[in-house]
């Protein structure tokens, strides 16, 4: 059965990810720990985007906004000497949810190309806002002097501990996502994507369901932003650049939209190939581009279809 196969692939992936820190230590290559941790953070962001893109049918071209808001929430508080991680991350999630509520409330009233353009426009506004605030480094950004402090719980300066925290959040996000898309709420969301007229005639107004999904996705991506700024120890408006939104979209599409774990595969494939190619030649984008086009043409269900079998 497909569900059995999926469980095996997921378990194997989990074991593999859990084994990265000891293997990297054994090989004396801490770089890999760093790389995989970064990929997992983007996987969480891509996962959140997939909730609205894959399950909700909302093509948001501005999801990097919440990466930026999460990162700035942490960085700005730290800038004023507030290093309490609970506070920083709560702000990262809360502010992202609020901004998503505002952007979603406006943009979900539109559809198609207009939705894409509005979400992009809002994110560009935030990007230029980041560039214009000199206090927080303008377009140069600023260093995160002290990582988020979780006294008594975890020390993010411990590379292994931070790695396992990111892994735990990724697994939690996968599990919550799985529950969500199969709940009553998730079914209405998917139904509204599949056939809006039918869904309305059953008595569902899609708008509140879509908006709620948009807010949840923003909040989760905000958490990914908080992780990202702690990972890089650097804050920059580039987190919100539209190319970043495009990368997240690509991870989702490459990985497979009809699957909760698909975007995780997409994040790994895109970032690892990017890393390998860029180490080999500086013209790596010339090779990556055609690879991406081919994968979209020939992997209709994304990498998830390849790994997990045909159906969700």
């Amino acid at each position: 059965m497909n569900s059995r196969r999926r469980a095996i692939v997921l378990a194997a992936g989990l074991v593999l990810l859990a084994a990265v820190p000891p293997l990297a230590a054994l090989a004396n290559q801490p770089f890999y720990l760093d790389l995989v941790r970064r990929v997992m953070i983007f996987a969480i962001a891509a996962l959140s985007l997939n909730l609205i893109l894959g399950y909700g049918g909302m093509v948001s071209f501005g999801h990097a906004a919440y990466l930026g808001i999460g990162a700035y929430a942490v960085g700005v508080l730290a800038h004023y000497g507030i290093n309490n991680g609970y506070l920083q991350w709560a702000l990262a999630i809360g502010a992202s949810a609020l901004v998503a509520l505002a952007i979603g409330a406006v943009s979900i009233r539109t559809s198609g190309v207009y939705f894409i353009m509005i979400t992009l426009a809002f994110t560009q506004m935030l990007y230029y806002l980041g560039i214009s605030i000199e206090e927080y480094g303008g377009d140069d950004g600023m260093r995160l002097q002290v990582k988020s402090q979780f006294p008594g719980l975890i020390d993010l300066n411990d590379a292994n501990a931070f790695y396992y925290l990111v892994l735990a959040i990724l697994v939690l996000a996968l599990f919550l996502g799985h529950r969500l898309v199969n709940s009553r709420f998730g079914l209405v969301l998917r139904a509204a994507k599949s056939n809006e007229a039918r869904t309305r005639s059953l008595g569902f107004s899609p708008y509140p369901y879509r908006l709620a999904a948009f807010v949840i996705a923003g909040a989760v991506c905000g958490l990914a932003g908080a992780l990202l700024v702690n990972h890089t120890a650097y804050l920059t408006p580039e987190f919100m650049n539209w190319t970043r939104s495009g990368e997240l979209m690509f991870m989702v599409i490459l990985g497979g939209m009809a699957s909760i774990a698909g975007p995780v595969l997409g994040a790994f494939a895109l970032l690892l190939v990017e890393d390998a190619l860029s180490g080999w030649t500086q013209h790596w984008q010339l090779i990556l581009g055609p690879l991406l086009v081919l994968s979209v043409l020939f992997l209709r269900r994304g990498l998830a279809g390849l790994f997990f079998g045909k159906n969700e």
Binding site: S183, R184, L187, S194, N195, R198, S201, G203, F204, Y209
Partner: protein, 251 residues
């Protein structure tokens, strides 16, 4: 006489110079099967869209179960017991037959802002949905993806979906469109099994279906209702005969 369930008064809708609904008056009685027929271009689709809430009229009122619903959206009307099927099969192709109907049950059984429990495991959605699939003859096909059902089965699934909302009124937009003879017979049998218990509005081109199912018929021509009555009365009506140019209706 039965109570009036749906009352339409002076409904008017124009698209530019084209008057698609020209002061339409219509009464649908509780428990009856009321057919709306008319030649192509008579304005049937426009009328249905205004009844179901997909299109706002320029003028006129629609009352449903004593309440003015003229300004209500399609979802609000659906929640008040106004269900419909579509002319072009409208189902969720990537849901199974059972999931299609379960979602319709869900629409009228508690809040759908529930994020945790798998909906597929809810018995209060599952068992009514199974019973309705059984009723429309799809009992053995519940686990099949809707996309993989035969055309006639998809049409039956669509009826099942509408029934699952436990409607007071069911609007059927050409339920036998595109069907073969055998499938048509099966659909007519299914619909007549619903008669009596449910109030049905049947918009249909197939005169066999209309005359074997309808208690009353309204004839729509150029956006106006030119006649309403029993099948015998309508068949004998001179104006109706003229509109159809002695076509199938005379037979």
């Amino acid at each position: 006489m039965n109570k009036v369930l749906l009352e339409v008064r002076g409904l008017r809708k124009s698209f530019g110079a084209l008057l698609a609904s020209d002061d339409v008056d219509l009464e649908v009685l509780e428990g009856e099967t009321h057919a709306i027929i008319g030649p192509n271009g008579a304005g049937k689709t426009t009328l249905i869209s205004q009844l179901a809430g997909n299109l706002l009229p320029d003028r006129g009122r629609v009352r449903f179960a004593g309440e003015d619903i003229t300004a209500l959206s399609a979802p609000s009307r659906a929640r008040r017991g106004f269900a419909r099927s579509f002319q072009i099969t409208s189902i969720y192709p990537d849901f199974t037959a059972l999931e299609n109907v379960m979602l319709a049950v869900q629409a009228h059984s508690g809040s759908s802002f529930r994020f945790w429990r798998p909906a597929r495991e809810e018995a209060r959605l599952r068992s009514p949905a199974s019973a309705i699939l059984e009723e429309v003859g799809l009992g053995g096909r519940s686990g099949v993806l809707a996309a993989n059902l035969a055309h006639g089965e998809q049409r039956a699934l669509e009826i099942a979906t509408a029934l699952a909302t436990r409607p007071r009124l069911l609007l059927l937009d050409e339920p036998v469109a595109g069907m073969g003879v055998e499938e048509t017979q099966r659909m007519i049998a299914l619909l007549s099994s619903l008669k009596g218990g449910k109030t049905l509005i049947l918009v249909e081109h197939d005169m066999d279906a209309v005359f074997s199912l309808a208690d009353r018929i309204s004839v729509l021509v150029y956006g106006r209702i030119i006649a309403t009555g029993t099948p015998q009365e309508v068949r004998a009506n001179a104006e109706v005969r003229r509109a159809y140019l002695g076509e199938e209706i005379a037979a």
